[in-house]
Structure formats: C-alpha cells, structure tokens
Amino acid sequence: MTAPGASATEVPALTPWRIADIAAALLALDGASIGGVSLRAPAGPVREAWLARLSALRGGAPCSRMPAGIGDARLLGGLDLTATLAMGRPVAERGLLAEADGGVLIVAMAERVEAATAAKLCAVMDAGAVTVERDGIALTIPTRFAVVALDEGIAADERPPAALTDRLALRLDLTALSHREIEPPVFDAESLAAARARVAATIDDETIACLCAAALALGIDSTRTALQAVKVARLVAALAGREAVAPEDAALAAALVLAPRATQLPARSEEAEAQEPGPEPDSQPDSPPSESDEQAAAPPRDLDEMVLDVAKAAIPAGLLAQLLAAGGRTRARAAGRAGQLQKAAQRGRVVGSKAGDLRGGARLDVVETLRAAAPWQRLRHSEAAMAGRNGLIVRREDFRIARYKQRSETATLFIVDASGSSALQRLAEAKGAVRLLLAECYVRRDEVALIAFRKAQAEIVLSPTRSLVAAERALAGLPGGGATPLATAIEAACALADAVRRKGRTPALVTRS
C-alpha cells in the first residue's frame, strides 16, 4: 500500500448524486455480493433517472419487480397447477426469487413490506438459494440477486424492515435531490466490463481493521455492516482500476456503507482537533465538497482519521442534524405508533390461507380450495367410479379458509396533571398536544382520549374520540387546581386502556405530570 493518506486529493467531491451514481455502478458490477441498495426517494424523475442509470449500466437487462404485498406462492414458487394437471405429474413453478437469479430484484414500496415477507427474502439472500417446501414440492434452487428496495416512506419511522436493510450494503436517500442536480454519467458498460475482471481486488488487514474501527466509532452495531464495507471497498477498487484496495477506496466505502447508518458522531481525539481546525462535527452539514477541498490541504494523517472524516462528511444532512440534536448516541427504535397487527377472522387484507373447518364463520378461500382438491381428482375418481360419481370431488380436508390481517387503530390516552402544582402551564401544553394529535388523527384515523387528575380523583375528560369538535369543547372546559392523585390517575388510565384494547384498538399512554 502507498503511504497512508498521501493520496487524499483523489477523493472526489461526493455530491449526493455522485454517491448514487457510484452505488449504481457497484450494483451493476457485483450487486449480489453486497446485498443491494435501499433507496429512499419518492416516485419521480430523480428515482427514474437513477433506475435508468442502473439499467443502462447493466446493459439494459430487465429487473424483476416484487410488489409489497406479494404472496408466498409467487415469491418462493410452488405447484404449477395448470401444468401439473396437463402433464399428469407435479410440475414446480419458479417463484420470483428464483427468477431473479443473476439480476436485480426491485422491491416496490419496501416500507410497506411485512416483516414475514422480508424474513423470507433475507433467508434466500443469506442461503444463496430458495428452499421450497410447499404444496408437496421440495427443492432447492440456487439464486443470487441484488435487491433494490424502493423506500417511499415519508415519516421517520416509515422504513423498510430492518432485517432487510441490514443486508443491503448501500443506502441512498435522494428525497431532497432535484432533477437539476443529476450529473452526467461517470461510468459506462465498458468501464464496468473492465472492472469486472478485477473484482477480486486484495485488501490488507490494516484497511479491514480501519473500516471496523470506523464502524464502531460511528456507533454501528451490526458486524454485517463492517463486512459489507470491506466488500464495497473491494468493488470500489475494482471500479477505479486498482488491484489492491487503496486508502481512498476504503474511505469511499465508508462513505457509502457506514455514513448513512451512523448512530453517533465519532469522538475526536484532542490532538487531531488541534491539528486541523477545518471540519468540525458541527460544520455545515450540507457542504461536503468544501470539506474535501480542505482535506486536500490538510497535512497527511492516519488512515483511520481519513476514512472516518470522509464517512462523516458523507452523513446525510438530515441524519447529521438529528445526531447533533441528540448530542450523542441515538438509538433508532421503532416508535411504536403503528397499531399491532391483529389477526381478524373476516376483515382486513388476505395474508394467505390455511387448512381448516368452515365453522365459526370462517370464509372459504374458493380458489385455494380448488387448488388443493385438483391434484387428487384422478385418485378420487378411481375410487368413486364404483359409486358412479362424476364431476369435481371436493372433500372436507381440501377446505382452505382465508386468513386476514388488519392493522388495528391506535388510541392515544393522555393522562394530564391538572393539580394546583402544575395546572396552568402544563394543562395548556397538554391541551395543545391533544389538539395537534387530533389534527393528525384526522389523517391517520387514530383516536385520542384525555384523563385529567386533580383534587381527589381522576376524571375521563375526553373519551376516546376522533371528533375534533367534541375534543375542543371538552378541552376548553377543563378546570385546574387541587392535590395530585397520581395513583388514581394511573388506575383510571389502565382501565381505559383495557377498554380500548377490548374494542380491538392499540392503546398508547402518555403521562404528563
């Protein structure tokens, strides 16, 4: 390896589009080895341009497309009923994941993909093969593909399942990008073909250690991420025409893989800060170009430092602001606002079918029942021939009942201290919060309730409601003053939460005292 950090000048200005462009090239080069990319962007010209770029780099080969609500039969494969009946022997049908072998699988609306679907997809990515154990068919089909998860989420907690994004090395956020910022392509199919001959670029132990250290410094827990950074570094080196991973390749890999996952800003050593007054953690978050200019002027320094700096510069502006605001480590946890998935007998979205009886008002899944009955017709006819029966023979064990799932609604219960100690200011705050939430509820179809406690008792001021008018009226007439009966309030809140749950909603309690 060359002197560490000596060639920092070569690190190009990393505009968001350029990062996206490199990501597309890496995907086209060997996307399956790095999992793929999670692309957060609304449907629009920028996303289309990126997908077109990817398609062009792949020589126009078509991509497989996976809808968010895909069923297991289509995803994994199973029995091809038409062919089976025509041929008189079981014919397996290849699922989408087997078809995607050697290509790119686009997961549409990835933020709406269910954890169970994501887990199946992940299992196939991990094993490098689809294991089909369905409809009397058992086989293993090797398949390798890169995943492009199109994330159209808007709210911070609308994200694709973490199990999936954890396996996708690259993470892009083009939400804030305008189509005017799209730059001309840097790579073309020929340069990729040349790079493909070099994908086995070597990487030395020092660089691996450095990428691991950078991941740790940025507060990234999964070891899978550090491993992905190593693989991306290799591909980046191949793309740049190098046989071995150079420091700038490692830095770029850190920017691509580690930066978007940062959960904390690295603590800087004091001497480093004294050395270069340039890029402070709280410098302008959206000016990575100027920062890399400064890097060129900066004195030679450690490989570790350089990798970390480039990664830090590449932390998306929104995330950086969030990290700075948190002042330290933030743990991205699910906000718990989505109502629990409820298994309903009759309502909601069909999530499959299972064998079962028709008792208890279960709904027959006619197509699945016929599918279940079809292969056995010949056998049954030979038995029924003596009895002289004709036509389709469906038996009780063929019955398939549809399984439904629906997202239960959330009811947020506010428990507010209206006692003398805190009445005036906090009561006003709580009223404001409930009003805001109610406005949001109109969009989200959630409910809000308000329990105030003062003097000797807790009172349900507002029963769970979605009505703006009723809520406004109850809030306006809320009195304050007196003692603080917290225990009574908690008891009342639990009772109300129970009642809410019995109605099939998911309660969430917010206490202000």
Partner: protein, 384 residues
C-alpha cells in the same frame, strides 16, 4: 431445609425414571404402519431437469466462529444430550445465529440408521438381518414459507396424479427425526405451524390424516430456533418448549469485530479453502462431542448437585420442575463435554443462565433483565 431436600428428591427420581424410559425407548420399535409407507428415499421430490445442480458452498466452520461462547456451548450441549430440549437463540442482527446452527450440522458424527427407512429409524436392538448404514445427522431447515403439508407430510402428489395411488410422502418433521429442526426467525413463523410443531415436539410423534390415510410416525428432534426480539415476541408456549435460551449480542470490542470481519471475508472469497483450514479444528470439536456423549451415561448425579439445583430454582421461583430438570441435564452434559467425573458447582454456574433465563416469571418491579436476575441468584446461592 427439609422441604428443599424433598424437592431435590423429586427431581432426582424424575431424572432417573426418565433416563430408564429413554434408554428403553431407543431400541424399541418405532411404531409405524409399514404398509402405508411408500418405500422410497426421503428426498423424494424430483428436481426439474432445467434447474442447475446445487453447487453451493459448504457451511461456515463452527470452530471459526469468533466469540459467542455461550451460543456455541449451548448448541454443543444440546447435541450431547437431546433430552435437554433444544436451544433458542435470540439476539441482534448479524451475530452469526444461523451461521452457528448450520455449522453445527457439519460437526455432528454420523448415526446408524436402517437402510430404506424413510424416518432414519435406529436399528432395533435384537432384530437380525437388518441392514444399517451410517447417515449424517439431519439438520433440517424449516423455511418460513413452508406449507403445512410439507411440514407434517402429505399424500405423494406424483403417485396420486400418475397412477391414482395413495402413498405417503414424509414431510420435514420426518426428515428431522433423530436430528435437529432449525427455525430461523422463529417469532415470524405462522401460528398454525407453531401449533403443529408444539404438538409434535411434545408427543415425539407425528400423526397425519389425509385422504382416508392414517399415518403415525416418530418425530423426535432437537428444536433450534433463532430470532430477533425486535421482530416480535415468541409465544410463551413455544418459549417454554426450548430447553436452553441464549442471548447473543454484537461483540463490542474492536479486535473481536475485526476478527469476525476478516474470517467471514476470507470465507466468502474462498469457502472451500477456508473450510479446509478449519477442518482439523472442527474435527477436534467433533471428537469432543463423541467422547462427551459416551461419558454422559457414566456421570453421577449426586444429591449435593441436585440440592444445589433445587435451591437455585426455588430462589428464582421458576414454575414447575422443568427448570430443575433442564438445568440438571445441561450441567451433566457440560460435565461430560469437559471430561469431568461428576457435576461440579462450576458446571451448574456456567449453564444456569441459559437453562433458566426464559423460565422466570416477569417481575414488573424488577427492571433488570432475566440474565441479571439469574446471576444475582447464583451469587446468593453459590457465594461470589
């Protein structure tokens, strides 16, 4: 103290009784209606000619897994004594949960089975003229998208279509008999499949009724599950069914992480070469496993050890006797694995967290995790 000794006595008797029952059972006939079973190899379904042969890489070697000692130990102990009742591995993403389980398959010494038996049946004790052969211990993956008919077995579709003939096609439960059944993301498994699994795991027998065919075959397997707590909780019934429970976390120190990444990277680049390097280490573990299994029957379960175990469980207030039994068996398996003559306090201490942490009653006033509570109880019972 009298009550305590009584308690220990009950557990001791139960252990002895079960031991006899199990040793009697292994040789006994595995009751199955032979007439109903098609004599055909277990991997019955045909591969369509157009699909490529499976040229996948060998699994990551067990011995090359960095750190995660508790998880590795739990898997080995469950392999030494299947009556411990399986392992549940819960933890962060990317900690090598499924890697370890799949690696275990490569370690296990082959077992003797009757030739042509679709259920890997063990040779009968007194029977003559039975042809047996060595087969690898099955480690069966239960994929999340599996349908019920493939899990429990169903009529053979091909025979029904081609010749209108009724024949039973064994499912995954049959394939896992005498081996391991692995469920990745156990908390995401469909509820109706979980019910079937619980039922079979409890009875050791799988019953299928379909098309007027009634099949009953043995299905005794070690259940190994893994999952991520963030994806959802496991149903308490299923939780209790696992003998051991292990929590895995990402290693926090840099050198360990670097070692993880380096080894995995080396494996990904050249799986066969990498496995070759670790073959000797894997074989050494395999030999320890065989030696441990042989020694298991000779290890004495002393009254002192039983008292210790009962004391610990009373202290923690675990429900029922399953905690004591599992802890005792696990400690015995560890003693066997380590080549000890008898169960020592150190063995009990080592395995107590994994045997008990998922059996504690939730105490809303105690914020500490269940692992901390077990350790606290250990310190109180055994001294610091």
């Amino acid at each position: 103290m009298d009550g305590l000794l009584d308690h220990a006595d009950v557990v001791g008797q139960r252990l002895r009784r079960e031991g006899e029952a199990e040793s009697g059972e292994t040789g006994s006939s595995l009751a199955m209606p032979a007439a109903a079973i098609a004599k055909r190899p277990l991997r019955a379904p045909k591969r369509a000619a157009a699909w490529p042969a499976d040229g996948r890489a060998p699994p990551f070697p067990f011995s090359a897994i960095v750190a995660q000692e508790e998880m590795k130990r739990a898997l080995l102990l469950a392999a030494i004594d299947p009556t411990i009742g399986g392992v549940l591995i819960f933890g962060d993403r990317g900690t090598g949960k499924s890697t370890a389980v799949r690696a275990l398959a490569a370690l296990l010494p082959p077992m003797r089975a009757v030739v042509g038996d679709p259920y890997n049946g063990a040779p009968q004790a007194g029977a003559r003229g039975q042809k047996t052969h060595l087969v690898p211990v099955p480690v069966v993956d239960l994929p999340l998208g599996a349908t019920e008919d493939r899990v429990v077995g169903a009529l053979d579709l091909e025979k029904a279509l081609a010749s209108g003939e009724k024949a039973f096609q064994p499912g995954l439960l049959a394939r896992a008999h005498r081996g391991f059944l692995y469920i990745d993301e156990a908390n995401l498994l469909e509820d109706h499949l979980v019910d079937v699994l619980l039922d079979v795991a409890a009875s050791g027998e799988n019953v299928v009724e379909r098309e007027g065919l009634s099949i009953r075959h043995p299905a005794r397997f070690v259940l190994v599950g893994s999952g991520n707590p963030e994806e959802g909780e496991l149903r308490p019934q299923l939780l209790d069914r696992f003998g051991l429970s292990v929590e895995v976390a990402t290693p926090a120190d840099l050198p360990t992480r670097i070692a993880v990444v380096k080894r995995r990277d080396a494996y990904d680049r050249d799986p066969r070469g990498f496995c070759g390097q670790w073959q000797a280490a894997d074989q050494a573990i395999g030999r320890r496993l065989i030696a441990g299994r042989k020694r298991l029957a000779q290890i004495e379960t002393s009254d002192a050890a039983l008292t210790r175990v009962a004391e610990l469980c009373l202290h923690l207030g675990t429900d029922g006797l399953r905690g004591e039994l599992t802890l005792m068996r696990t400690a015995r398996a560890l003693a066997a694995l380590e080549g000890a003559q008898e169960i020592l306090d150190s063995h009990i201490r080592t395995v107590a967290p994994m045997a008990l942490r998922h059996r504690l009653r939730r105490n809303p006033l105690d914020e500490a995790g269940s692992t901390v509570r077990v350790e606290r109880a250990l310190a109180e019972v055994f001294g610091p």
